[in-house]
Amino acid sequence: MEKIKSLADLKKKQKALKAKIDLRERANDPESHVQVKVSMSTCGIASGAKHTMDVLIEEFQQRQIDAIVTQTGCMGYCFAEPTIEITKPGEEPIVFGYVNKEKAIEIVERYVQKGELVEGIIPKNYQSIEK
């Protein structure tokens, strides 16, 4: 493949990508993308959050999953960094701790794709049953 080096190369690639992304979005509900937030403050970065974010982006791209991976500040679980919060369309957000490369791949494969719950959930937003 040609190297992308100039702004003109970027523009050329944009056209190809647009067609691909539009096609994928038409096949799915527009609101159907998975949202992932990676906690990126000093504690997270020092624990490898950047690597986790790189892995997540690559996995979503390779598996052709509609997802947006962004950074966020410290969620307050410094002991469990890197932490990520995943919101699947129409579902409650779930926070996972100690997300290294292997864990990130496991989460994408089992939680995002198959809908199974995997170990490592930080019970942040549990609700109690009111009596």
């Binding site: 190297k3 992308i4 080096k5 702004l7 190369d9 970027l10 523009k11 690639k13 944009q14 990508l17 647009k18 691909k20 992304i21 990126m40 403050s41 000093t42 504690c43 970065i45 020092a46 950047k50 974010m53 790189d54 982006i57 690559e58 979503f60 791209q61 997802a67 947006i68 991976v69 962004t70 950074q71 966020t72 500040g73 410290c74 969620m75 307050g76 410094c78």
Partner: protein, 180 residues
């Protein structure tokens, strides 16, 4: 922090928290004079003189989730351990300027790490903030301005994994160019 790119992400987060609209990263590698300078300028809310004096103290933080703030102190320590210097200037309502100078060839100077990734991952996380990244190696310069690039990419979300990877590759290729 294992490398300089991680410090850069860390400082970017500070600028984003300070509600910056524009964040500049200026890296200058002057190999002839053995200087590496990393500057990060933002137009965020800024800090009072009193706060500026406190940020290099590891036990100061604006955060409410914990009691330590190590980002700035670690960056400062790493710059100073290479015979360099660290300066932070801020004005309320104007913004903050950080200049860290390193001995380029010093044995304790951390490697760059993935600077392209640091810029792209942060910029695409906050698409409303304009990031301008300028990297100079001796007499060659590369400029990456999100405003210019996003205009070209109109019509597709800059947060799509494909776009993030493409922008990263774009910067990497240009950095290779100025390093040769």
């Amino acid at each position: 922090m294992k490398n300089l790119s991680l410090h850069i992400i860390d400082i970017f987060q500070n600028s984003v928290s300070a509600k910056a609209h524009k964040i500049e990263l200026i890296i200058v590698e002057d190999r002839i004079n053995d200087i590496l300078r990393i500057s990060i300028y933002d137009d965020g809310v800024g800090m009072s003189e009193k706060v500026v004096a406190q940020v290099v103290d590891p036990f100061y933080t604006t955060r409410t989730t914990r009691k330590v703030g190590l980002g700035i102190p670690l960056f400062k320590q790493n710059a100073e351990s290479t015979g360099g210097s660290f300066k932070i200037v801020s004005k309320e309502g104007v913004g903050t300027k950080i200049d860290a100078e390193f001995g380029h060839a010093h044995i304790d100077r951390q490697p760059f790490g993935d600077i392209a990734g640091a810029v792209v991952l942060t910029a695409t996380s906050y698409p409303d903030v304009r990031f301008v990244y300028t990297h100079t190696v001796d007499d060659k310069t590369f400029v990456f301005d999100t405003q210019e690039v996003y205009e070209l990419l109109e019509g597709i979300s800059v947060q799509s994994p494909e776009v993030v990877l493409m922008l990263k590759e774009f910067i990497e290729n240009n950095l290779d160019e100025i390093n040769n």
